[in-house]
């Protein structure tokens, strides 16, 4: 049996793990076992991160790059949600639409979002249009799949009861199907935000001329490992914030529906 360990002990162990990790990192780079060009110390990375907050690199400061990235992400993600959720719901409710769209959707799903980069650049350029298509390609499938699941797995007894009571179709949709699908839709949004954010980073590494991804590529070209690592930290922080916000929304909705476990 795994033994329970108390809170202080796990805190101490956790801190120990972190310190060991950072210590190993620091030791490797400060002792010169790994050249500092390849692995700067954690402090140098932190310095650079703070430095980038108001110093321009690759045309903008880190916050400005982040803002550019986030704008693209927001457009791509919203577009995926606006198109994907209704499509998924309709596929779940109307069998014929499901049968028509599914083969196309299944075929497209196996194309890695990042493989859209060449067409994205060809069709919409490398400014904001191209990256948006790639984010869309990453964020779209989870929106559709989860809305579909939400609509498909509504308790049939609810619909039967509504039908028996002579509820008009429109009200069945707004009062039974839609509310019942919301939790699944929200968790779909969380997955798709993660995938969209990741696709954005990929798109910016390859085609963009602003954004955190672009900053990292420039850092790489200038052999500035600290800049690359600062970019990774910034991307991780924003991704974490997005995930936390959507997780919070998920909880809130579950709680309002009394589905708390």
């Amino acid at each position: 049996m795994p033994k329970r360990i108390d809170f202080t002990r796990s805190l101490v162990l956790g801190l120990g793990g972190l310190i060991a990790f950072l210590g190993l990192w620091y030791g490797l780079s400060a002792s010169g076992i790994v050249p500092p060009l390849f692995l700067p110390t954690p402090f140098e990375v932190l310095d650079r991160f703070i430095d980038l907050l108001d110093r321009r690199f690759a045309g903008a400061t880190l916050p400005a790059h982040l803002a550019a990235s986030f704008e693209r992400f927001a457009y791509g993600f919203l577009l995926a949600a606006i198109v994907g959720i209704p499509l998924g719901l309709l596929m779940g409710w109307f069998r014929i639409l499901d049968e028509i769209v599914s083969p196309i959707f299944d075929g497209l799903r196996f194309i890695a979002p990042i493989a859209w980069v060449p067409f994205a650049a060809l069709w919409f350029g490398t400014g904001i249009g191209g990256p948006i298509l790639i984010i869309f390609a990453g964020a779209f499938p989870p929106c559709v799949i989860n809305a579909y699941r939400g609509a498909k797995f509504v308790d049939p007894r609810l619909i039967e009861a509504a039908n028996m009571l002579g509820t008009p179709n429109r009200r069945v949709i707004t009062e039974i199907l839609l509310p019942a699908s919301v939790p699944s839709i929200i968790s779909g949004l969380r997955v798709s935000a993660g995938l969209g954010w990741q696709s954005l980073v990929g798109a910016e590494l390859i085609v963009a001329s602003t954004g955190v991804g672009y900053m990292m590529v420039q850092g790489q070209a200038n052999l500035s490992t600290t800049t690359v690592m600062s970019g990774m930290i910034a991307i991780g922080l924003v991704g974490l914030a997005l995930d936390t916000a959507l997780r919070f929304a998920e909880r809130l909705i579950e709680r309002r529906r009394g589905m708390e476990t």
Binding site: M1, P2, K3, R4, I5, R9, S10, L13, G14, L15, G16, G17, L18, F38, I96, E99, I100, V101, S102, P103, G107, L108, F110, I111, A112, P113, I114, A115, W116, V117, P118, F119, A121, L122, W123, G194, W197, Q198, S199, V201, G202, L205, I206, G213, M216, V217, G219, Q220, L223, T225, V228, M229, G231, M232, I233, I235, G236, L237, G239, L240
Partner: protein
């Protein structure tokens, strides 16, 4: 023939006809934007027999597939044991989890510039990136899988004094294998996405390289061929993993039943 297959087949047929009509017959889509069926077949012939971007299609496929499989195996060989350890041993969990929580939000693609800085454009950089990308889903799902094991099973094993190795082989791994396989599927997907992205950023061979060169040459037919190749490979490897899962889990179910009986 089942209705689903009929409608699906008809949909795809209609799409192909529409594709042909809009590109070749009516010229609604400019050939510089999206290739006609003929141009796509020509591009396929080109890369298949004469070679493109430094090799024939078979060579590119072989190279990409090799890297994905290598990176995936390294990730699984390290990720699954770590997940088992974290799920089983509370001390290890408390020690490793915080470090993991820090690294986890960094999207796999964000490691690409760092990998290029460290290892250049060759195979080792690709394997490193795939490892990082595929490692996280393997660990998380294995960890979650161990946590789903019911307490009585663990207690029974402990009570009977099962030796540690036998316990791992006959209780821990089989009981968490459904979740482990979920992790492997996600890892495989991440491997493909990351490899294609890494090859798009910089490579000497591979399908991402084909996409990249085709983009620079403004060669839509070749872009489409590259995307289809990526999709087919992703689909085929996922199917192969599914087959493996069926075999592994059918044994697991039988074992579980025998154990229960």
């Amino acid at each position: 023939m089942p209705r689903r297959l009929q409608i699906g087949g008809a949909t795809i047929l209609v799409l192909v006809i529409l594709w042909y009509l809009s590109t070749t017959v009516f010229g609604l889509i400019a050939p510089g934007r999206f290739p006609s069926p003929q141009a796509t077949i020509d591009a396929l012939g080109h890369v298949l027999f004469r070679g493109y971007a430094g090799g024939t299609l078979i060579e590119h496929i072989f190279n990409s597939l090799r890297l994905v499989i290598l990176g995936f195996l390294v990730a699984v060989a390290t990720g699954v044991p770590l997940g088992l350890l974290m799920g089983w041993n509370r001390t290890a969990e408390a020690l490793i989890n915080p470090v993991f929580l820090i690294i986890r939000p960094i999207p796999p693609l964000a490691w690409i510039p760092l990998a290029i800085l460290w290892l250049g454009l060759g195979d080792s950089a690709k394997i490193l990136v795939i490892w990082f990308a595929a490692f996280v889903p393997s660990v998380i799902n294995t960890y979650a899988g161990v946590r789903t094991i019911e307490k009585p099973v663990l207690e029974a094993a402990a009570m009977l004094g099962t030796p540690r190795l036998r316990f791992i082989r006959e209780v821990l791994v089989p009981a968490s294998s459904p979740m482990i396989f979920t992790g492997l599927r996600l890892s495989l997907q991440a491997s493909w996405t990351t490899l294609v992205a890494a090859e798009l950023v910089g490579a000497f061979y591979g399908l991402g390289r084909v996409l990249n060169v085709a983009q620079q040459d403004l060669y839509p037919g070749m872009i489409l061929v590259g995307m289809i190749a990526v999709a087919i490979l992703g689909w085929a490897t996922t199917k192969a993993l599914g087959k493996l899962e069926m075999r592994a889990l059918s044994w697991n179910q039988a074992a579980a039943l025998a154990g229960r009986g």
